[in-house]
């Protein structure tokens, strides 16, 4: 059975054809089930994640999917800073700074679709004030957004983080992380609600914020 429902496929095909400008590459890092055990890895949703991006690639000539077997020592894994599985890196015309860890299912699928469109255009609909704030950031910034696929508030947080990364890919990297697939991170960050946002391991906050408030938190984290 298809991961993307039929009625959505038609809608998405039209949307991509109308709104995408440049090609977008999604690099999918997964690991085959038989190889996971030896490496001490568990990737519950590698297969499903792979299927979702394969189906997306069928919807537009401008969406390319590169499948990579995850190997911690490979250069591309190091270059892109991939450290969990499954991982998706959405690459627009500029070097990718937009990542998903865990299956982009449920509400999160809509974020992935929007990210593809934005990455393709190399621009976002953040307000002008926020864009200015974000483009002014000149220090390495790592934003982690912890979400669950059943959380209706999470896509907006994921989107703002990814939009910031698209606006300023040289300095901002943004990860959307499906919390329930990574219990060690739930413990590490003592997560008790989603979305929870962690910036440079310094500032942690939760809940739905406006893009302006979000940008302020990023600036605050950099000053900390």
């Amino acid at each position: 059975m298809a991961m993307i429902p039929d009625q959505d496929m038609e809608f998405l095909r039209e949307r991509f054809s109308e709104e995408m400008r440049d090609p977008v590459t999604i690099i999918a890092f997964t690991k085959k089930a038989q190889d996971q055990e030896g490496a001490g890895l568990v990737c519950e949703f590698c297969t499903e994640t792979q299927r979702i991006v394969d189906e997306l690639a069928d919807l537009s000539d401008k969406i390319n999917v590169e499948c990579r077997e995850f190997s911690p020592d490979s250069q591309i894994v190091k270059d892109l800073g991939v450290d969990k599985l499954p991982a998706l890196v959405v690459q627009g015309p500029k070097e990718g700074s937009v990542k998903y860890y865990g299956i982009p299912g449920g509400f999160e699928f809509s974020s992935l679709v929007e990210d593809i469109v934005d990455a393709s255009r190399g621009s976002t609909d953040l307000s002008e004030d926020v864009k200015e704030k974000v483009r002014g950031i000149q220090r390495d910034t790592h934003i982690q957004v912890f979400m669950t696929p059943t959380c209706p508030y999470c896509p907006s947080a994921v989107r703002i983080a990814h939009q910031m990364a698209i606006e300023n890919p040289d300095f901002i990297k943004a990860d959307a992380i499906e919390a329930s697939e990574f219990p060690h991170l739930v413990s590490k960050y003592e997560l008790s609600a989603v979305p929870t946002i962690v910036i440079n391991e310094k500032v942690q906050f939760e809940g739905a914020l406006t893009d302006d408030e979000f940008a302020d938190q990023v600036v605050l984290a950099l000053a900390a």
Binding site: G105, S110, Y153, S192, G207, L209, T210
Partner: protein, 296 residues
């Protein structure tokens, strides 16, 4: 996979509450050719339905509540607007759009009309401080984070039972604190306590709940109420004596957000709610027309 290919289209109006004010706003929004969605955790006109008799609504010298409620619901049905039986939890203005988050979805509106009814909801001591540190309102969102943990669910309304049942799938233990009498659908594995909660315990991280019958230790406390306090739902909303402050056009202090009915203050009467619902819808229409002009 439950997929949402894209966030649904932006509505001209998102109406929260399906009582007389909300449905009147819907009917008048339709008359102004706006698009709208109506959200309420209960069925439309649930409160009026239970009134034994109404004697001061013009044209109905002696009407049973259920009779008026049925007329209101039928009139609303003619608008064709969708009704979503969901609990509104968070409202976030984002530029020219206002996001309304429920326990299931997020709706974008160019405007929002708040018709919450009377809700004298107060937060528990410690609740605000512990938000994001173990206090949650959304099992659907956060339940998975409590895998293998001990959780308390405070149920002010029977819907809390459903939430507790869902949590039982993740948590090591679930204790349900009911503030009402008849608990009917709670899973047998869940410990039930009838008590009035008095405070959330723990400052940097939730450690439990205190009630009038004793303390319960827990890693997390889910609070399920009929409605969230206005101020925690929409930050910055001007509220005085538990009522939303509005001007004569039913506008609140937040652009694009209007309010009508009992939540704006006394008299708590159907006629007043219906009238305010109309004014709010017409004001929302003016706001939407201005936005359209700006966009074109």
């Amino acid at each position: 996979m439950s997929s949402t290919a894209s966030r649904s289209e932006t509505n001209d109006v998102v109406i929260i509450g399906a009582g007389p004010a909300g449905l009147s706003a819907a009917v008048n929004a339709k008359a102004r050719n706006l698009s709208a969605v109506v959200i309420d955790a209960r069925e439309p006109v649930a409160k009026v339905r239970n009134y034994p008799e109404v004697t001061n609504y013009l044209g109905y010298p002696k009407a049973a509540g259920i009779e008026l409620a049925n007329h209101f619901a039928q009139h609303f049905a003619k608008t064709g607007f969708p009704f979503k039986k969901e609990r509104a939890q968070k409202i976030v203005p984002q530029g020219d759009v206002v996001m309304v988050g429920t326990d299931k979805e997020v709706y974008d509106g160019k405007t929002v009309i708040l018709t919450f009814g009377v809700a004298h909801t107060k937060l528990l001591p410690g609740e605000e401080q512990c938000l994001g540190k173990g206090v949650s309102y959304c099992v659907t969102c956060d339940g998975a984070l409590y895998s293998g943990k001990d959780v308390v669910v405070v149920g002010y309304v029977p819907e809390g039972e459903e939430e507790a049942n869902a949590l039982a799938g993740f948590a090591r233990s679930v204790t349900y604190v009911a503030t009402y009498e008849n608990v009917e659908t709670l899973d047998k594995t869940i410990k039930l306590i009838h008590a009035e909660p008095t405070a959330i315990l723990g400052c940097t991280k939730v450690t439990g709940l205190s009630t009038d019958t004793g303390e319960l230790s827990a890693d997390g406390v889910f609070v399920i109420r009929e409605a969230m306090p206005f101020s925690s739902m929409l930050e910055g909303l001007a509220v005085e004596d538990s009522f939303i402050q509005v001007d004569r056009s039913m506008a609140t202090n937040i652009p694009g957000v209007f309010a009508a009915g009992d939540c704006t203050g006394a008299p708590f009467q159907i006629a007043k709610a219906v009238g305010e619902g109309q004014v709010a819808a017409l004001s929302a229409a003016r706001y939407v027309y201005k936005l359209r002009k700006k966009e074109s």
